[in-house]
């Protein structure tokens, strides 16, 4: 059966969709991706859809689902390289993908993910620093 490859890059997962997604393929990708996030403990998922020229409401929902599922597993999802026609179609279908981060291309998506993860990392570290500073030795 056809599958979409999921590549690991450091703490991120990179998914490049090179073919037009049909429903089965999209569902397979969804479950594969969730499995991969939980197995690798990835902090970010980057989905490149620059080669996708056709979407429908189902596809839009799958992308939204992937983002929500990844969020539950503590990973950020960034969708990059959406074609103008695809964006217009999704908007006309009423799918604004509120939970999904987007970027223009893979490079900017990577930057976005990295800054996201740095922000969370510094927020997590911040209380400790405060504790250190606040407690007199």
């Amino acid at each position: 059966m056809e599958r979409i490859p999921i590549l690991r890059m450091g703490s991120f997962l990179l998914v490049t969709i090179q073919v037009d997604l049909y429903d089965r393929l999209a569902l397979t990708l969804e479950s594969d991706l969730v499995q991969a996030i939980s197995k690798t403990g990835a902090q970010g998922v980057l989905i490149d859809i620059s080669a996708v020229s056709i979407v429908d409401s189902f596809m839009g929902r799958i992308i939204g689902n992937i983002a929500s599922m990844a969020r539950l597993l503590d990973a950020y999802t960034v969708v990059v390289g959406m074609q103008p026609a695809v964006a217009i179609t999704l908007i006309e279908l009423g799918l604004t993908l509120p939970g999904v981060q987007t970027a223009l291309n893979v490079e900017k998506g990577m930057q976005l993910l990295q800054s996201r993860i740095q922000v969370t990392a510094s927020v997590e570290e911040a209380p400790n620093e405060d504790d250190d500073a606040g407690s007199p030795e």
């Binding site: 990059v80 390289g81 103008p84 964006a87 970027a103 998506g109």
Partner: protein, 284 residues
């Protein structure tokens, strides 16, 4: 009867021209008398040569050459600025000229004259209707072309800075125009790899819920592409109507002027514009 018409061709033309000169729909400001005579001669020649049992029975194949020729004339008259009424009267006066000619020559054969009058009347009705149609078509073509031109020139995408695009919108936004705006803007974002797009609506006369809907759609589509969209140029009246209509624009970054939109775009891109200390002369 048909043979009679053919033999009287020069007289018909003469009479028609006389008719036209007496009409109040004659527009000597739009067309010179020589041109008018030439045009009329062409029509009389064609109609009198082509007229036959088939054309009078309104056989479409037989009518085609006449209609084609008249369409050309109707379109050229439409472009010259004749009104439809003037063009119809132009043709009707030819009918009158032909009928006069027949009445004079037919003599006592009233039944034949009546038949001929009826079929000529039908024939000219057909011609006039079809010229009317082409006339309107000619006008519509002009309107369509202008609409296209307006749609094209009214949605320019300007690159104001590296990674910042601006799109000033001028005129009322309807669904068709929003589509063009959206497509142009998204394509420009892809082409230039810009992160921020500024939609300036200071040239949009009024914002109702439909226009607001269109704007929100454009902003959402830009976000899906991975860029941020700022709406600027919101006049006080527009702010009033938007709130009074209960439109929620809280998801959209809005600024009063293009300048403040550009300023916030700079801060999003972590850019800074400041005065230089040195007093170097400004060279052009």
């Amino acid at each position: 009867m048909l043979a009679l018409l053919r033999s009287k061709k020069p007289q018909i033309l003469e009479r028609w021209i006389q008719h036209q000169l007496t009409l109040d729909t004659l527009r000597d400001d739009l067309i010179s008398n020589d041109e008018l005579r030439e045009q009329s001669e062409g029509i009389v020649n064609l109609i009198v040569d082509q007229i036959s049992e088939q054309t009078l029975a309104l056989d479409p194949y037989a009518l085609e050459p006449i209609l084609e020729y008249l369409s050309g004339i109707a379109i050229s008259r439409a472009r010259h600025g004749f009104s439809p009424r003037e063009t119809s009267f132009y043709l009707f006066s030819l009918k009158n000229a032909m009928l006069d000619m027949l009445a004079e020559s037919a003599g006592s054969d009233i039944a034949a004259l009546y038949d001929m009058t009826r079929s000529l009347g039908r024939f000219f009705d057909e011609l006039s209707t079809s010229t009317f149609e082409t006339f309107i078509k000619g006008r519509e073509e002009v309107i369509l072309r202008q609409t296209d031109e307006i749609a094209e020139i009214s949605t320019p995408v300007i690159r104001v800075w590296d990674q910042i695009l601006a799109m000033p919108l001028i005129g009322t936004l309807d669904s068709a125009r929003t589509q063009v705006v959206m497509e142009n803007l998204l394509q420009a974002i892809v082409d230039t790899g810009s992160e921020i797009a500024i939609l300036d609506i200071s040239g949009v006369p009024a914002v109702d819920s439909l226009v607001a809907q269109h704007l929100i759609k454009t902003v959402s589509a830009t976000r899906l592409m991975g860029a941020e969209c700022i709406i600027s140029g919101i006049r006080p009246e527009i702010a009033q109507t938007v709130v009074q209509l209960g439109i929620d624009l809280s998801q959209v970054i809005t600024k009063a002027t293009l300048a403040s939109a550009l300023k916030s775009a700079f801060s999003m891109l972590k850019l800074e514009v400041r005065k230089t200390q040195s007093q170097k002369p400004f060279l052009i």
